[in-house]
Symmetry: C2
Subunit: 165 residues, 2 copies
DNA sequence: CGGAAAGTTCAGTCAATAGTGAAAGTTCAT
DNA sequence: ATGAACTTTCACTATTGACTGAACTTTCCG
């Protein structure tokens, strides 16, 4: 109920956890808590129960529940029950970073959609403005195409490394 | 002092402006106001004064000042004085999207730095955790390299289009 | 089934962030 | 130099978003 990172020999890593919270959280559009939870889960050997997370993060039950939900839908954490146990455990996924890239791709796709909608809604503007919206549209088209390719490339490279292990 | 988009024949575009505010603002880590300002500036023929922006956005002087500052440092908007005039005008830059991609690259580089620092600070962890930090490090190394390449590719393509005009 | 343990939801509280407006600071034509 | 026009700064207010904790729902062992 006291040490924010539990009794895993990780006591010194704590400020690191907070850095995760701020940075990854911000990058992924998560609240800081989710970033901290991601950090804790990455640095743990074994899968953690909610109670352990709650203790490690020094957070309320409700908050941890919301946080784990978020991490699971983001594709960075999986949850399962160990056979015979009645409680879930949470574990950082080996392919977590694919999930992050996928997330980025989705965000960018949304902006492409916005660009398309903008051109439709503000059609027949003078040359200058039309050109600006065209630039935006071209940019996001380029980005979606490129990120998609990167995702594929990254996963291919990972699979290769994986099978080499 | 009334119509939120001024008297430019853009009256119908207003909900669009707010969409810009939410989406681009969020993507760039800007407050909504900055996104809205970006939208307004994209959709304008001529450069705008602060007074015009203030009117178009229906915002306070202070807020517009902060907002323009932000857009200028982000590289999406430039400001200059028309000769003989004593007030600045603000204009959406033709190469604004390069600035956005650059911004993304910088953000990603920060996370690479975090990954490096994490491996250093949490060295000599058991295999499992070490592998996770290695994955993170590899991911961000890959992303920084790739985004850098994309930026170059995008700018090259733009230059080509440009000179073809 | 009954009920204890685990997990989720949600109204309320607290903290962080955005925006206002007035005062202070700059700039430039005269 | 002076002062009017314009811009920035900053203390305050409003808004938004995160976290808490208690009430509720679900799960599953006996």
């Amino acid at each position: 109920m006291s040490s924010p990172v539990g009794d895993d020999g990780l006591g010194a890593v704590n400020p690191l956890i907070d850095d995760f919270g701020l940075h990854i959280g911000r990058a992924m559009g998560w609240p800081p808590m989710a970033g901290r939870a991601a950090g804790v889960l990455m640095l743990r050997e074994a899968p953690m129960t909610m109670a352990e997370l709650q203790d490690a993060l020094n957070a309320s039950k409700g908050s941890v529940s919301e946080t784990t939900r978020l991490l699971v839908v983001s594709g960075t954490v999986r949850r399962f029950k160990e056979p015979g146990s009645r409680q879930y455990v949470y574990e950082w996924r080996d392919d977590a970073w694919s999930g992050c890239l996928q997330h980025q791709l989705e965000q960018t796709t949304e902006l492409l959609t916005l660009a398309e909608s903008a051109r439709r809604r503000a059609a027949d503007l003078p040359e200058r403005q039309g050109a600006r919206l065209r630039e935006m549209h071209e940019y996001y088209t380029f980005m979606v195409r490129s990120l998609d390719a990167l995702l594929e490339e990254y996963e291919a490279a990972r699979d290769t490394r994986e099978s080499a292990t």
